[in-house]
Symmetry: C2
Subunit: 352 residues, 2 copies
């Protein structure tokens, strides 16, 4: 919060609804507040008031809180709070994921204001992780390693993608707070679509299956992908697997404090292109990871972002051949002078 | 969509991002669009343009679509679309759940406009269900009936609330698209909190356990609550159970086309108050149900809303005694002259 106030100097205040930024700045993560106004108002002097539904009375600790009851109009409360914090005009940061309907109401109390997305400030802050954050991310990564080995020990043949995705989700939720995102299970030809939603297709002998999943542990995410062969590994896909594995390793080896994020993408991309599959690597090499599954720094070709110690991101090249299938291998990495893998599950091709 | 245009006459246009309203009006339910602008722009003449990420090219069918690529600025596209639809000022409806960060960008292209939440219009439309909608809601209700019987046939003693909630979720997701909301499992004293989140507490002999869960089937929700006793039913809680059951039945019997929603609440509330537990019934009797778990008509004491045929809502009175426990019984109901239950699982106390 102190660091946030330094950043806030360029702005007159901030309006923060629940989400990863509120959690990052205050530790508060109230559940199911979508329909009721729950809002932290901060001005540039660092004065703040929390407006919260009465229902949350027992969950919330904040120096200045105003609770509102279901019979009350929360926007009347808000108007008074904005006045008391002298925050009815100026440059105001607004939580990106706030509901538009809240913002529409809030605008009615303001004059001569300009809104800016809160992420403009928080993405810079959140990109560099603290020791405690990295500890939680390691734990989230250990959980997905465990889940991968457990799933790989089961007989997947004959199960639908949807069934396997449910099993993965079930395993994650026994060990973590929640999944970080709905697991992807893409089998056979479906694996040629990097964003495939698990469906009714049953896993068959000879399939390559992409398993992409993540855990959320005390707010922090992991994100892993492994591709396994079922019963037998087709020669062509085996060749592709080795190319992706080598591309992932080269990208990982390239990670160093002070280089551009784009250079990590290029390390993977050049290897795949050299082997003749450039046109089949159709997404960026990775994305930042933390309280959200997708955040800064993005590992894309054009990124000029300089990597710094304690940044965390994924490295996940893939090759996708229409009507044949696909391979993706993904690890989570932290910059500590060089790169260090957080996910450590087997990267050699496993034939189950 | 035709009916929507009639409602739209009072406004100059609408900006609709994915969610239950977009699904209701167009049948489109694109997944994972939170981070990328996916927006249907409609003007009062009924002209519309869909702006969608290129990634969704294969999923989307609309007469006029503009796709944008990751390298492009989607707001440049939007500015052109707003011009072409002559929609740069006036009274504009905005999807309630749109991200504030989108709205902040959109505002920069507009002049002399006033925003209104889209729900002002859609809540009126969506409250009265069509035949097909009611058919899907029946199916969603049948699924939770089945899941209740399956869970009641299992040995719950010694399992944690969290474990039972996961089992319920797993069962629902095998039969439906998804859960309608995270299941509530509240055991023993925890059942005194109507919004309890399932935790590590293990279910014990003598507990009353509140099970509250819902399924989403082709977009439509069900929502059921049953309270079961484990091994043995405490006399006091048994007495409370009978009071809640009778209150729920009286509220149900009161449902008739043409009465106020508030009268249904009062039918339950008066019975509970007469039995001396008025102060322990601490929430409204129910809420509308459809594409969302909470929508109009709300069944609360002060509601003047007149019930009409084809409206659907829950009836769910409860009694919550701090340091003892609680009981809630909930069914989904449709108005067809009188009320008709969609959920039909056993309402007599089950001692498992």
């Amino acid at each position: 919060m102190k660091r946030f106030l330094e950043y806030l100097e360029e702005y007159d205040g901030a309006l923060i609804t629940p989400g990863s930024n509120l959690y990052y700045l205050t530790g508060m993560a109230p559940q199911a507040t979508e329909e009721r106004l729950f809002l932290l108002v901060v001005n540039r002097d660092g004065e703040s008031v929390l407006i919260a539904p009465k229902l949350y009375e027992n969950e919330v600790e904040w120096k200045n809180v105003v609770f509102w009851r279901d019979e009350e109009n929360p926007y009347g409360v808000l108007e008074r709070v904005l006045s008391s914090l002298n925050l009815k005009s100026g440059k105001i940061l607004v939580e990106d994921t706030m509901r538009a309907s809240f913002l529409i109401h809030i605008e009615r109390f303001l004059e001569n204001y300009t809104f800016y997305p809160l992420s403009v400030v928080t993405k810079e802050m959140r990109m560099r992780k603290g020791e405690k954050e990295i500890r939680l991310m390691k734990k989230a990564a250990e959980i997905v390693d465990k889940v991968f080995y457990e799933i790989a020990s089961r007989d997947l043949m004959g199960k639908s993608e949807k069934q396997v995705a449910l099993e993965i989700e079930f395993l994650i939720r026994e060990l973590a707070d929640d999944v970080a995102f709905p697991p992807i299970v893409a089998s056979g030809k479906n694996a040629a679509n990097p964003h495939h939603s698990p469906g009714e297709r049953k896993i068959r002998h000879g399939d390559f299956v992409i398993l992409d999943f993540g855990a959320r542990y005390k707010g922090y995410c992991s994100d892993i992908t492994r591709t396994v062969a079922i019963g037998h590994a087709n020669e062509k896909l085996k060749e592709i697997y080795e190319i992706v594995k080598e591309a992932q390793e080269r990208a990982f080896q390239s990670v160093r404090e002070g280089i551009k994020a784009g250079d990590v993408d290029i390390a993977a991309r050049e290897h795949i292109a050299r082997k003749g599959y450039g046109e089949y690597f159709i997404h960026r090499t990775g994305h930042g990871l933390g309280l959200e599954v997708h955040e800064e720094p993005y590992i894309s070709q054009a990124s000029e972002r300089i990597l710094e110690n304690s940044m965390t991101f994924t490295i996940e090249p893939g090759i996708y051949i229409p009507n044949l299938g696909g391979v993706r291998i993904e690890d989570d990495v932290v910059v500590e002078k060089k790169g260090k893998r957080l996910t450590k599950a087997e990267r050699e091709l496993m034939v189950l």
